[in-house]
């Protein structure tokens, strides 16, 4: 089990999910996560489970909704635009208090975007994504090894709190190969025991179970009751990793692939005589705010590095709450971070410079309206046009 093998991220994830006892998978193809359903289609049957290539992303998440209500470890995977389509189904799973696993191998956006790896769906993942007051637990792996081992963790958390869990990866993690090993033996789902809430065949041997997405009587009480779980999760389930945080001047905050580029910056900084540390949230919701706030008091500045245009930085600023200046080094829409650029941004913080630091309001200075109507082209509704 400890021997390392070379695996592709998406395949490690799929194998990890089967090992974690997933016996229902429904999905629809989209780059860059196609190896997940491909692997499932080849291996789910031999594991005794069901693989369905659904007619759409929406159908797939609703199949997971049905399968999850039986207590079966059920999952779907997709990439950004496909995850947008699944949001309605995710809210129903959340409102029915059903555990399941949703995997988002993010690509560039908005809209169809690009197939490059991205972290543009941070808001969507951590703020719920669909309508209403709810959360999903969000795990952010930064290696093929974590991709392989997080499905088990995801199901343990999802089942403990009866709610959906999301693994938020990106195209590069999904497409890359890396040496990895699984940190658990394959789980036989038949040995897991049944949930007392699950819908299944009971032959009048017990009271009838129902799973409701809509009870129709007291929504306020339900939502407030569910929020107790959210509070407990925020208190007890935040996960993170720290590198070189004990004595640093600038603290980098990054998750997923970006955190690996940060690690390069941390090590290069050491060689250059700069004290730089890294704080990596592993759970994005719950966000590890408490520990980050403690660290914030000890450093001169915090640099958030993300493959998006100022999403993660908002949670960082909420956690830091003004104790320390928080800066942003951003790589939106499929841009890829690298250690040298991050180090440039670190130097800017230490010297009061601007290179490598993104400020939305300063950025706006370069904006001019170029989208005014031109009446010389004709008036609206005038089919013949002007000149």
């Amino acid at each position: 089990m400890t021997e390392k093998t070379l695996r592709k991220g998406n395949e490690a994830l799929a194998e990890g999910a089967i090992r974690a006892g997933v016996r229902f998978f429904a999905g629809y193809p989209i780059t860059p996560q196609n190896e997940v359903p491909e692997y499932m289609s080849a291996h789910m049957a031999e594991a005794g489970g069901a693989f369905v290539q659904a007619e759409s992303e929406i159908a797939a998440i609703n199949m997971v909704y049905g399968a999850a209500s039986t207590g079966t470890r059920s999952m779907t995977s997709s990439s950004s635009p496909g995850i947008s389509l699944k949001q309605e189904g995710i809210t129903y799973l959340a409102s029915a208090d059903l555990p399941c696993l949703i995997v988002n191998v993010m690509r560039g956006g908005p809209g169809l975007g690009s197939i490059s790896g991205s972290q543009g769906d941070y808001f969507q993942a951590t703020r719920g994504g669909g309508n209403g007051d709810y959360h999903v637990i969000v795990l952010a792996p930064n290696s093929v090894e974590e991709l392989g081992n997080f499905p088990k963790l995801g199901f343990e958390l999802a089942e403990k709190y009866r709610m959906p869990c999301m693994i938020l990866a990106d195209g590069i993690l999904g497409q890359m190969m890396e040496s990895m090993s699984f940190n658990f033996d394959p789980i036989d789902p038949n040995q897991l025991g049944k949930f007392d809430w699950a819908v299944d065949i009971h032959k009048n041997g017990r009271k009838k179970n129902n799973v409701y997405s809509y009870k129709g009587d007291n929504l306020i009480a339900d939502v407030v009751e569910r929020a107790k779980r959210y509070g407990l999760i925020e208190k007890t389930e935040a996960r993170f990793e720290e590198r070189n945080t004990e004595d640093c001047d600038v603290l980098l905050v990054a998750y997923g692939l970006s955190s690996r580029a940060c690690l390069e910056a941390v090590n290069h900084a050491k060689e250059a005589g700069l004290k730089v540390g890294l704080f990596r949230p592993i759970t994005l919701w719950p966000f590890p705010s408490k520990r980050l706030a403690e660290l914030a008091g000890k450093v001169r500045g915090i640099l958030t590095v993300e493959q998006s245009l100022g999403q993660l930085v908002q949670d960082v600023r909420l956690a830091v709450n003004g104790r320390t200046p928080v800066y942003l080094n951003a790589y939106p829409a499929g841009g890829q971070p690298d250690g040298n650029t991050i180090l440039t941004a670190v130097r800017s913080i230490l010297s009061g410079g601007k290179e490598g630091l993104f400020d939305l309001q300063e950025h706006a200075a370069g904006f001019t309206y170029a989208c005014q109507r031109d009446t010389s082209l004709g008036m609206q509704g005038d089919l013949k046009g002007g000149k």
């Binding site: 070379l6 190969m177 890829q336």
Partner: protein, 178 residues
């Protein structure tokens, strides 16, 4: 040791597969290794490339934006990857198919007639392994034995005589570097 490598060439020249082999060889040597293809819409006759990292310690990002080594197998890849190469980096050129030479003077250039050597062994398709052999001789990033072990895992369905031929190509590339 931290080696970031880019391997580039035409689709069909085996640059993607050579990269997987190299990463697997790194794992055989108990090192950390990563591989990342240039994925996306590619056209027939277009170029393909992959990033490989072999490291004694942690592998940072698998995207090798400033490589220590580039292996270029066709003409269009040379001008594309020459500017990315780190100062003091290594460029291995398949001189069978590439006539131009880099203009940079701060890099080491090794020319190997990969296709010619492969043809002499009887199969044009194994030019990628000739290049890999040259890379190993020049850098020592992985051992020849580890690549031979890796072949069995990566080319699972290969016939024994094909594996033998691959080994010969690897050795020939290794020997081609003085």
């Amino acid at each position: 040791m931290y080696q970031g490598i880019r391997i580039a060439g035409f689709g069909g020249q085996g640059v993607i597969s050579a990269g997987i082999l190299l990463a697997q060889a790194g794992v055989e040597d108990k090192k950390n290794a990563s591989w990342l293809p240039s994925y996306g819409p590619e056209m027939r006759g277009g170029t393909a490339n992959c990033s490989v990292v072999v490291s004694d310690g942690e592998v940072y990002t698998p995207i090798v934006s400033a490589p220590d080594t580039v292996i270029v197998m066709n003409e269009p890849s040379l001008p594309k990857f020459e500017p990315l190469l780190k100062k003091g980096g290594l460029m291995i050129i398949n001189s069978s198919l590439i006539n131009s030479r880099p203009t940079r003077t701060d890099i080491t250039v090794v020319c190997v007639p990969c296709n010619k050597i492969a043809q002499e062994l009887g199969m044009d398709r194994i030019a990628n392994l000739v290049a890999l052999g040259a890379f190993i001789k020049q850098t020592g990033a992985v051992s020849l034995q580890s690549v031979e072990h890796a072949m069995k895992k990566v080319y699972k369905r290969a016939k024994p005589e094909m594996l033998e031929l691959n080994k010969k190509a690897l050795q020939a590339g290794y020997d081609a570097v003085k």
